[in-house]
């Protein structure tokens, strides 16, 4: 029984230590590279919360941003394994560093006449945009960090969200101040 409880304690500790990490990496913009990255996560039992990929200014290079949940030893493995991929040029964990991080969402919300003013007020407060207006629905474009998106969605929920498309997080390291 003693080992049982110590194993439970270890398991509890693991759960406590699990944190959200945002990894950003530059990779070769070639066919199959995303599949190598994603295959690594599935093959080794790592988890992906969200994923964003797009080319950078250099068309030969893409930036992948992945949000994952891991405790520190697992995070160390994830970083090392990703660095080991031949097509990964550069990698950085942005969780503990100064970084700007944004998500985007398109939210199609039911806009009954009695709710329209309220929706527009929320759009204004959250600095969103209405990008499509129909007789019964507004489509709202919103960007922000994760907390802002969650708060916005919670406020719009009572009106009735018909559909929603969210991106994963993208992030960049803040340039250091000029000395």
């Amino acid at each position: 029984m003693a080992t049982g409880s110590s194993e439970q304690a270890v398991e509890r500790k693991r759960i406590v230590d699990i944190e959200k990490h945002t990894i950003t990496m530059l990779v070769d913009n070639k066919p199959g590279v995303l599949s190598r990255v994603v295959g690594l996560f599935s093959g080794r039992g790592f988890n992906i919360e969200s994923l964003c990929v797009a080319p950078t200014i250099d068309p030969m290079v893409s930036r992948i941003t992945i949000v994952t949940m891991a405790d520190p030893p697992l995070m160390e493995q994830i970083e090392k394994q990703l660095r080991k991929l031949i097509n990964v040029i550069k990698l950085r964990d942005l969780s503990d560093t100064r970084a700007v991080q944004r998500e985007m969402a398109l939210i199609c919300v039911r806009a009954q006449p009695r709710d329209r003013d309220e929706i527009l007020r929320i759009v204004d407060i959250f600095r969103c945009k209405v990008v499509d207006v129909g007789p019964e629905y507004y489509t709202i474009e919103a960007t922000g960090n994760e907390e802002k998106m969650t708060a916005l969605i919670n406020l719009l929920k009572p009106m009735g969200i018909k559909k929603i498309a969210r991106t994963g997080a993208i992030a960049l390291f803040r340039e250091p101040p000029v000395k």
Binding site: P31, G32, S35, R36, G43, I86, V88
Partner: protein
């Protein structure tokens, strides 16, 4: 110079010093085979593509060069996958050339089409689909560079038919540089100084050497290091031969079927210097209890190996040979003095463990498999290159044959691939035509790639096959005996071919021993014969491999004879 894709491939292979290719032709590689006819590259025609990869693997393990194999698209490529995964797990440098349907048919479910780049992605170090003949030369250059540098591994190049039949301008390429791939060979000097400090104060140190020693050709530096510091050395299965097995400082193999003294030393040491290992579960047993009194130093070129399974006090990322060389010169400077007195109590303890539980068996009326290996060791004066299949035969080959030099013991350690030994022996024999190459096999695993007998006969490769024939899939049977109440589910192989007649049917020699006093004469006759031989030793049916650490138990909790 305008050349066909196939000619470019051949030129690029020659540039890399390739003299031998193991392969099997097919529709999408006809052009390459056609071009191969006009070269002096030696082609070994196998009987199954898995055999081609294992043979290239055996060639690479024995010679330290990159092994090359060539197979066709579709089933040719999928048959190769087990071989590729085997090489990947053991970090063996291979370049696998697969044919592919023409580029305009890719994705069309064309005849013999398979997405081998997708299939092999998790079991290659890297892989390529060559989109155009123009890219071929550069791709081959990169593939060899990646396969042999850093932590080595297999690299696959998928070549569509129109790429090998098309033409392009070819010129020799300079050294390759890949901006995102820079393996770190040089260890951190500060970390190495910490290692020297730990050696100074350690009372019960040990070295744990793995396959990295053999891959980085660091055996000489390891011996100097161990003798200078008077630290005993244990080896993983992959590390055998990395330190002379007959040296007084050798503890033998560690792990599930490791020696009593190696496993007890692991449990009691206060410093473990692990070099070129990855702490596989068959080595560590229960990880919480592994070397729990010890500070662990871990030297490896692959950062992902460090702190993957075991947390370590001093991680050192670097090439084994470079790191040991630097450690040796640091130790020379540090002047540790005469260590004999300090080490003696620890070495005495190790000796006591050795005396208490030697590797042992009792030879009675039927032949004991261990006896066959011991006689093989004596009669070859320990000189032969040994390959193994997987299971009990592999463990006895590891325990009772002592390996004094690297690249002498070729075995599928990580993946545990039955059917590895015979084709690997063919590869090793191709690399060293004049050496004695022996495959130690079981009656189960030899049947997994027995078709390669024809390859050995055709190419006049005098490999010797020692079958320890117990009529069972012995290792699984052993687990069933010990942990499944002797319920021998599907492990009895009592309908086996007559291996002597089988050998003769292939045009090889077949010999059999059923009594202990026949063992020597069969071995002598078989080893002396100039050609491939199968020696069938009918051994004790229910012999077990001991010591044994049950899976998931602490390494010091061994079942003994």
């Amino acid at each position: 110079m305008k050349l066909s894709g196939s000619q470019i491939l051949i030129e690029a292979l020659k540039e890399e010093g390739v003299g031998t290719i193991f392969g099997f032709p097919g529709g999408t590689v006809i052009d390459i085979y056609d071009a191969l006819m006009d070269t002096d590259i030696h082609h070994v025609l196998v009987r199954h593509e898995q055999g081609a990869v294992h043979a290239a693997d055996g060639y690479a393990r024995a010679s330290g060069k990159v092994g090359v194999c060539l197979v066709t698209s579709g089933p040719g490529a999928t048959n190769a996958v087990t071989g590729i995964a085997t090489a990947y797990m053991d970090s063996i440098p291979l370049v696998i050339l697969t044919g592919q349907v023409p580029t305009h048919l890719i994705g069309n479910d064309a005849f013999q089409e398979v997405d081998i780049v997708g299939i092999s992605r998790p079991c290659t170090k890297h892989n390529y689909l060559v989109a155009s003949t123009d890219d071929l030369a550069q791709t081959v250059k990169e593939a060899f560079h990646i396969a042999r540098s850093g932590r080595p591994g297999p690299v696959l190049i998928d070549i569509p038919k129109n790429v090998s039949s098309g033409t392009a301008e070819y010129e020799k390429l300079g050294p390759v540089k890949i901006k995102s791939y820079n393996p770190k060979y040089e260890p951190n000097a500060k970390q190495l100084r910490k290692v020297v400090d730990l050696i100074k104060t350690a009372q019960r140190p040990m070295i744990f050497a793995g396959g990295g020693i053999i891959l980085s050709k660091a055996a000489g530096e390891l011996s100097r290091f161990a003798r200078k510091t008077k630290i005993p050395v244990t080896m993983s299965l992959m590390g055998l031969g990395g330190f002379p097995g007959s040296d007084p400082l050798s503890l033998g193999m560690i792990g599930m079927h490791g020696t009593y003294r190696a496993n007890m030393s692991t449990g009691h040491c206060d410093l473990m210097i692990a070099v070129g290992v990855r702490f596989d579960d068959r080595v560590t047993g229960k990880t919480d209890c592994f070397a729990e009194q010890a500070k662990i130093v871990h030297i490896d070129i692959d950062p992902t190996s460090i702190r993957k399974n075991i947390s370590v006090a001093v991680p050192v990322v670097g090439d084994c040979k470079t790191s040991l060389k630097k450690l040796n010169s640091l130790i020379d400077k540090a002047d540790l003095g005469d260590l004999t007195g300090i080490r003696q109590p620890w070495l005495d303890q190790v000796e006591e463990w050795k005396r208490a539980h030697k590797l042992a068996y009792v030879q009675k009326k039927t032949i004991k498999p261990q006896y066959v290996i011991e006689r093989l060791f004596d009669l070859t004066a320990g000189e032969a290159i040994i390959t193994t299949e997987v299971g009990q035969n592999q463990m006895w080959a590891a325990q009772y044959f002592h390996y004094d030099r690297p690249q002498q013991f070729l075995t599928s350690g990580g993946l545990g691939t039955m059917g590895f030994g015979l084709p690997a022996a063919i590869g090793a024999q191709t690399a060293f035509p004049d050496s004695l190459v022996v495959d130690i096999a079981g009656d189960g695993s030899i049947q997994m790639n027995i078709q390669e007998m024809a390859t050995a006969v055709q190419h006049k490769l005098p490999v010797k096959i020692v079958i320890l024939n117990n009529g069972y899939l012995g290792m699984v049977r052993q687990w069933q005996e010990l942990f499944y109440q002797k319920r021998y589910a599907a492990t009895c192989m009592d309908c086996a071919p007559d291996f002597v007649k089988l050998a003769e049917a292939y045009g090889a020699k077949g010999l059999r021993a059923v009594k202990p006093d026949e063992v020597d004469s069969v071995l002598k006759e078989g080893l002396a014969y100039n050609g491939p031989v199968i020696m069938d030793f009918v051994v004790e049916k229910e012999e077990c491999v001991y010591p044994m650490v049950p899976a998931g138990e602490p390494i010091t909790e061994m079942l003994l004879v």
